[in-house]
């Protein structure tokens, strides 16, 4: 018994060693292939010191706060709007796509799955650049970019949540003579409401992070103002933008945890 436990751990240690070796080899191979100079690591401290000296907001950058807050608010609203619209669409698509309830016939489920995967896996920056062609630089472009990505993401998330639902719970409603669709909606939606809301809150958080990047391209919201300060060399103010985004995201994370606990 003891002997085999000993063997088990020795075996495990070998495997760990092997894994570490593999990672090191992969890093070296990747560095060699891309011509990445590993001595660049030595210069990171200088870079960080420069960042700290220039980007730490000082008293002077406080004067930008009203502008930053206004843009942050606008960004927040767009993030919420995009996630909420996407959630409504995703609930319908998710219900049609879920295999267990089988609301849709034929292969519609696979079609929805594929559609969602494509929408989700197009990077948000690519969405923004594509949409820029037709909608130019304005808020709608940013909203649409977030919306499309959110539809893909939430459809996948909702669909999988629905597939975890035990269809036996619908039985009682079906025995009242209710139609199949009614039974699905009345039984499954209340039973899965908590995870659905949690996904929605996560999506809003994520949208605010993404909105920075999208705003850089579409010239709106918090991304725009960051770009503005940055290009006019007001690094302190730009740092302030970064800090306020982080604060907002952390705040949202805390409140969505709270909400999550409340609705459980």
């Amino acid at each position: 018994m003891n002997q085999s436990a000993h063997q088990f751990f020795r075996h495990r240690n070998y495997r760990l060693l092997l894994l570490i070796t593999e990672i090191v080899v992969l890093y070296l191979a990747a560095a060699a292939l891309t011509g990445f100079n590993s001595s660049a690591w030595l210069a990171t401290d200088k870079g960080i010191i420069w960042l700290a000296q220039n980007f730490i907001p000082n008293a002077n950058s406080l004067q930008y706060m009203p502008d930053i807050l206004a843009q942050l608010w606008q960004t927040f609203l767009i993030a919420v709007a995009a996630a909420s619209c996407a959630a409504v669409i995703a609930v319908v698509l998710g219900m049609l796509g879920a295999q267990n309830v089988g609301l849709s016939k034929w292969k519609v489920g696979w079609l929805i799955r594929g559609f969602a995967s494509v929408m989700r896996n197009i990077p948000i920056v690519a969405w923004a650049m594509i949409l820029l062609f037709s909608f130019k630089q304005n808020e709608l472009t940013g909203f649409l970019a977030l919306l499309f990505m959110n539809i893909g993401f939430l459809t996948r998330a909702f669909l999988e949540t629905f597939e975890d639902f035990d269809v036996k719970k619908m039985e009682a409603i079906q025995t009242t003579g209710a139609t199949y669709t009614t039974s699905v909606v009345q039984a499954m939606l209340p039973e899965t409401a908590v995870p659905l809301i949690e996904w929605l809150l996560y999506m809003i958080e994520n949208n605010i992070r993404d909105a920075t990047l999208v705003g850089l391209l579409t010239g709106t919201g918090i991304g725009f103002i960051f770009d503005l300060y940055f290009k006019s060399l007001q690094y302190g103010a730009a740092g302030m933008v970064v800090v306020s985004i982080a604060v907002l995201v952390i705040f949202l994370e805390i409140s969505s945890n709270r909400i999550g606990r409340l609705i459980r």
Binding site: K168, K169, E171, A172, I173, Q174, T175, T176, G177, A178, T179, T181, T182, S183, V185, Q186, A187, P190, E191, A193, V194
Partner: protein, 243 residues
């Protein structure tokens, strides 16, 4: 009221779960189906409202064979039959009132059902039923916060919402303590006596069956081995069912 003729069912082509079952169930009576585990009680009960489709035989409700109904006729038939489950089968995050109102969904077009649109009359009726079940103070509480006995009474109220003629109960008291079990059985008895409903119950406890049943059907390995009034269920009859 309800007649079954030579009903047979097998889940896997080999073992027969129901073998040539024939029985008559009278209006306004409590019929209790007893039998050892695996005897086919659940299978028989669920065949009655076609939650399980059977292989052969006839199930006549008011002279109509439920096995031949199309989908919309099936919905109509199901509205006449309430069902009560061992594990209550409530939508737990919803309130007592909402769960009871689910009983009206059978009579609604899909759109109204999806949007949970209930008339004032339906809401009043649901509240009255909740009161009748002694759950007044819980009407707006989530079902997940209720005790087992309370949940089962919500289940009964939901079944009553559609004014059924028949109520099927699969082990309605198997998860309850004796006091809650008696309460639930008393409610079923009063429904049979006062509202002339036809009640079919499967039970594990022979004592409860003898106490509450007008009519007892004993199943063993998929066949009817006893069929008579509860006074006829003597020790010998119990032996043939269980040993």
């Amino acid at each position: 009221m309800l007649a079954v003729n030579e009903l047979s069912k097998s889940y896997d082509q080999e073992a027969m779960s129901l073998k040539d079952i024939s029985m008559e169930i009278e209006k306004g009576e409590i019929t209790v189906i007893i039998g050892p585990s695996g005897a086919g009680k659940t299978t028989l009960l669920r065949s009655l409202n076609q939650l399980i489709k059977d292989d052969q035989g006839e199930i006549l409700i008011d002279g109509l064979d439920v096995r031949t109904l199309n989908r919309s006729k099936m919905r109509q038939m199901r509205r006449k039959i309430g069902m009560v489950f061992q594990n209550y089968n409530l939508i737990e995050p919803l309130t007592v009132l909402e769960n009871v109102l689910h009983g009206t969904l059978g009579g609604k077009p899909t759109l109204l059902g999806i949007l949970s649109i209930y008339s004032d009359k339906e809401q009043q009726e649901a509240l009255a039923l909740i009161k009748e079940m002694g759950l007044e103070e819980f009407a707006f509480k989530q079902c997940k916060d209720l005790s087992g006995g309370q949940k089962q009474r919500v289940g009964i109220a939901r079944a009553l919402m559609k004014h059924p003629q028949i109520i099927l109960c699969d082990e309605p008291v198997a998860s309850l303590d004796p006091k809650s079990a008696t309460l639930v059985m008393d409610i079923l008895r009063s429904l049979a006596i006062e509202k002339k409903m036809t009640i079919v119950v499967t039970l594990h406890q022979v004592e409860l069956a003898k106490e509450y049943a007008d009519h007892i059907i004993g199943l063993r390995a998929g066949s009817v081995v006893f069929d008579g009034p509860s006074s006829a269920l003597d020790v010998a009859a119990i032996r043939t069912i269980y040993d």
